[in-house]
Amino acid sequence: MTEYLIRFVIGGLVVSAFAVLGDVLRPKSFAGLFGAAPSVALATLGIAVGVHGADYAAIQSRSMMFGAIALAIYSIVVCQFLMRARMRALSASLLAIAVWLITALGLQALFPGGA
């Protein structure tokens, strides 16, 4: 329980820090870089190394590569939903999560590895 409480606090703090950076930076396309900052990764991998060791964190970072590729496709799809389909930001970003899930899980199934 304590581990998850620590996860919550560290994750919240790192994500908030990157979000504030994204808020104050201009232009908006540059600030958007911080929307794909490895904030959750920094918090999770730090705890993973401390609790489970380097090998465990290495397996997670291998899968993170697939997640990052899926994130690139997700961001492009969100952009198209907003500009072409003229969807609202919340519905576009939530609907495109399906694209992220399919891509990430598909890549993981194509290139299985780790535990």
């Binding site: 996860r7 870089l33 490895p38 959750v40 997670q60």
Partner: protein, 172 residues
């Protein structure tokens, strides 16, 4: 285009928006840990790049833009969509940096944990900024080329036709 800092956007934000981001960030980190425990680190690792935070950020950016336009007496829905789309374009470039982060961390974590974190974070920043800079320069070059070709097109039109193009066809 130069990168700058604008603190005014912090004043525009509401206090609960920061709470939402903190809670989402914390929840995403806990969820990643739970998925890794339940289904193994390979599946859990995928969720290190989950765009949960992006959803909140894009929505907030869009609503800030709409609110700003509404205060100016304009319906700003389209502007809100454009602002969120710009953020998404930035996130697409940032995901290249995230990929670089994961590769560097994977290569170095078994040798030195501290070095892995420092190098991976540096790689994320360098790759993201380079990708953004390259995109900006490509777009500027395309815009310049388009302007030059339209200028060249106007220069090819004979002077008599040129005056019609502005004033319309002469009345007879």
């Amino acid at each position: 285009m130069l990168v700058g800092v604008s603190l005014s956007s912090l004043k525009e934000g509401r206090w609960y928006e920061h709470v939402v981001r903190f809670a989402l960030g914390g929840a995403a980190t806990v969820a990643t840990g739970l998925i890794a425990r339940g289904f193994g680190p390979a599946l859990g690792g995928l969720f290190l790049a989950l765009p949960a935070i992006f959803c909140a950020s894009a929505t907030l950016i869009s609503s800030h833009e709409i609110r700003r336009k509404r205060e100016a007496g304009v319906v700003g829905v389209r502007r809100g969509q454009q602002a969120a789309a710009l953020d998404a374009a930035g996130a697409a470039l940032g995901s290249l940096g995230m990929l670089a982060f994961a590769v560097c961390f994977l290569l170095l974590v078994r040798h030195s944990v501290a070095l892995a974190f420092v190098t991976a974070s540096g790689a994320w920043l360098a790759v993201s900024v380079c990708a953004w800079w390259t995109r900006q320069h490509c777009r500027a070059a395309l815009r310049r080329r388009a302007a030059e070709s339209s200028r060249a097109g106007r220069a090819r039109i004979p002077p008599s036709t040129k005056s019609y193009s502005h004033a319309g066809a002469p009345r007879r």
